[in-house]
């Protein structure tokens, strides 16, 4: 299948922050999470993808069209929700829908009505008067129905309560099943979007720490509790240890080592994705 988006050798320096080089491929039908601490470069990368900033080198292709050329047809293929939409404040939800809908040929009024209904959006109230959570929900209602094949959401859930997040996950799941689509979401709160994610792009201080398929990543980490003290030497696969507890990202090698050295394992367990991301982002 043809990639929806391709990022090659992308680099950008802003003051003393360096992003890249970044290489990424976005496949159709996938939900991708950009994960990283604050200041890791998630939003910068998204802005570069949206041609809102100019890369120092490298390029981005969306449906085979380079975004840095005069051909701007790719823009109708992307729906983008920035962290803070600009210019919305004086308008009501109704106004904003009337302004937004005609700009997108595949705009779906039913999807808008469904999201507005589920989130109980007060469409007669001015955006600027809404709570931050409500603003976020209205912004999503103005973005998802554009039905562009690529949906980019920058921190879409940062002000949402748990039931609203659940609703959004349902909405996005159904949206994905209605065509050849892909989602790229940035979040520093990994737990929010992890349930839905297929691939994780882990950013750390502007560098791409790794691209991981979620379940492969989870299955590659295991933790063990031993009934005797651990040897002073490093155990194969060892990531971190404390007393008789050890975490490994090469469980097979670790277990072979335990067997060969007759180290009795009393317990073996998987790690949560959040813990794994924590470990990934902690490593130098």
């Amino acid at each position: 299948m043809e990639a929806f988006a391709e990022i090659s050798e992308l680099k950008k320096q802003i003051d003393d922050f360096r992003l890249g080089p970044i290489d990424l491929t976005i496949e159709p039908g996938t939900i991708n999470a950009l994960v990283g601490n604050n200041g890791s470069g998630k939003s910068t990368l998204i802005k570069l993808m949206m041609d809102l900033a100019t890369p120092d080198s490298g390029h981005i292709k969306i449906f085979r069209t380079r975004t840095d050329t005069s051909d701007e047809t790719w823009k109708t293929k992307v729906a983008y929700l920035p962290q803070t939409p600009i210019g919305y404040n004086p308008y009501t939800g109704k106004d904003l829908k009337a302004i937004t809908a005609p700009m997108y040929p595949d705009w779906d009024d039913e999807v808008f009505a469904e999201i507005a209904g589920k989130f109980h959006l007060p469409l007669d109230k001015k955006y600027g008067k809404l709570s931050q959570g409500m603003q976020q929900k209205l912004s999503l209602a103005l973005t998802i129905p554009r039905n562009a094949p690529i949906l980019i959401l920058d921190e879409p859930t940062s002000f949402m309560d748990i039931p609203s997040k659940e609703l959004l996950m349902d909405i996005l799941t159904r949206w994905m099943d209605q065509g050849e689509r892909t989602i790229i979401m940035a979040s520093h709160q990994a737990a929010d979007i992890m349930k839905l994610t297929d691939y994780l792009f882990v950013l750390q201080d502007g560098r791409m720490n790794g691209v991981f398929e979620k379940d492969t990543l989870v299955s590659s980490y295991k933790q063990y509790w031993l009934s005797t003290p651990l040897p002073n030497t490093t155990v194969p696969g060892e990531i971190t240890r404390e007393n008789q507890h050890i975490i490994s990202n090469q469980p097979e090698q670790t277990e072979a080592f335990f067997r060969e050295n007759h180290l009795p394992v009393t317990n073996r367990a998987a790690l949560d994705l959040e813990e794994i991301i924590g470990l990934l982002l902690r490593q130098p």
Partner: protein
């Protein structure tokens, strides 16, 4: 419809395999009758909090083995399966469980004789019930 599938992240059995086997058991056991509509790969992935790569692999294996069928544009459905296949699934599930139990015992340095003794103890307790 929500499927009664429960995944164990701590298990040594790969996740796709757990999904595949539990669906097989539901189909062979008759809880999912032929023609029942199954969730889309995306919907099941969300439900189970796994990636579509995992769910797709499970569905593909089930389809290749004739347990489910996909109708273009309509979705995925439970297939008609032969009585012999149902028997085979039950047989395999019981054998696999026994093998896993023996494997666990051997890992804890039990001898095969000891495993046999444990087996008899369990059976005798059952018979005594």
């Amino acid at each position: 419809m929500k499927l009664p599938i429960e995944l164990s992240k701590d298990s040594r059995e790969p996740i796709y395999h757990q999904i595949e086997n539990q669906l097989k058991a539901l189909i062979a056991g008759g809880q999912l009758a032929a023609g029942t509509s199954l969730p889309s790969i995306r919907a099941l992935s969300k439900e189970l909090e796994v990636s579509i790569i995992t769910t797709r692999r499970a569905y593909q294996n089930l389809e290749n083995n004739g347990f489910i069928r996909t109708a273009q544009g309509k979705g995925t459905f439970v297939a008609e399966i032969a009585a012999a296949t149902k028997q085979q699934v039950k047989h395999d599930a019981v054998y696999q469980t026994m093998e896993d139990a023996v494997e666990t015992a051997l890992r804890y340095d039990y001898s095969t004789d000891q495993v046999e003794e444990i087996f008899h103890n369990i059976i005798n307790t059952r018979k005594g019930d």
